[in-house]
Subunit: 138 residues, 4 copies
Amino acid sequence: MKPFLHAFRVPFHELDPGGVLFHAHLFVHAHEAYEMLLREIGFGLNRLLKEGKLAIPLVRATADYRHPMHLDERIEIALQVREIGRTSFGLEYRFLHDAKCCATAATTHVVINRCSGQPVPLPAGLVSGLKGYLSEGT
Amino acid sequence: MKPFLHAFRVPFHELDPGGVLFHAHLFVHAHEAYEMLLREIGFGLNRLLKEGKLAIPLVRATADYRHPMHLDERIEIALQVREIGRTSFGLEYRFLHDAKCCATAATTHVVINRCSGQPVPLPAGLVSGLKGYLSEGT
Amino acid sequence: MKPFLHAFRVPFHELDPGGVLFHAHLFVHAHEAYEMLLREIGFGLNRLLKEGKLAIPLVRATADYRHPMHLDERIEIALQVREIGRTSFGLEYRFLHDAKCCATAATTHVVINRCSGQPVPLPAGLVSGLKGYLSEGT
Amino acid sequence: MKPFLHAFRVPFHELDPGGVLFHAHLFVHAHEAYEMLLREIGFGLNRLLKEGKLAIPLVRATADYRHPMHLDERIEIALQVREIGRTSFGLEYRFLHDAKCCATAATTHVVINRCSGQPVPLPAGLVSGLKGYLSEGT
């Protein structure tokens, strides 16, 4: 299926003294793409914060850096759903500049009850929304 | 009176491509010094967050940059209370490296009721705590 | 004259525990608007970094916060040039959400020779570019 | 062997609206521990930046989050060297609060020639320094 797309420009304040994107910022951009995906499928974090019952903490994050990203480059994040479990889901991200894949990342998220802190089954609407972006071969 | 002191090391990720501290990070370090001052006088933000009644939003921030700050430099922040009003207070910060003042900053904070969003008089304990760090000539 | 416009969405990672934009991030967004303005007038920081002769350090930054900014709000920055001096220039920013001005900011920048560290006259092209965005009444 | 230790306090500006450390900041703290280790063994990034011949880009970063970290908590990072290769090395980090492991992380770094961008053998001094912090069972 088609990935969810989210683009950003590499800003000055995210560069390191070598003039390339400092690695930790990649996770921030991945999170922004994830926020936009959740909004797209009707599960925006804003709604979650307001309702106050569920939270979706991130329990794992990984990134592989292949090519440095430079000031003003337009990076397109192609986000796909890698896995949908009973109480968790996994996302994967490719960071593309022109045709080149500069980095990949993956995150795993668990849905919990905010009071108990315990994992709960993914809401049905979240599952169906995520299914629209399942990666190939999953 | 003696200022409240808080030191930090300039870390790699706060440098810009020119190898100097990116300006906006100065405000983050000023805020950390402010957090430590509040803790010192028994009004830590942690307690405020847990009690949930009051908040202390920042309504004004200014900084003047005189000398660039570089990787690994130890910067000492000398924080003083510039002004204590009925519902607000003002702080001022000097960023010192060795004997040199690299930057100054100032912030103004208002105490509000978290529900109404309206300013409320500073708690007596906060006033007396802040008085211990009033700047000379105030 | 018309301001230069640059918009952003308030992202999750810039919220504080009270659910509102942490103040220091305002300066980061102001800087992004400034980067886009410089590009627009042909003086992008990328070119400056590559040529290596000039730098434009920020020597002063101020912000006034009027209304909190929340997750997912679209904030439009209206940037105008407040002042064009011999070796420096001043910018001012309004942060607008719908019709409401949530914050204002101002920055002062000096053009220096990167080797000597000394201020140098603004390049003619920079002056003429900035003039296109001078604020009313200047 | 004994790990390299580096501690930090969870600051207000790294909290998310849920009042816990936003995940991407973990990588920033891991990087600060790494900077301190390099200094300790005589290979500080400052020296690298000044000499200008070598760079040590990060090519992989992973983190597992087990327990949320809260405002003012003192987190101790226990850093060990997981692996020393010909042109790269791997580090691992445990984030400890009291006796509890809140998170773990790992990073892989490659030493490159800054001009060619190509991997080069680790300098002998770096190898011997890293060996002092090799993890058990390696």
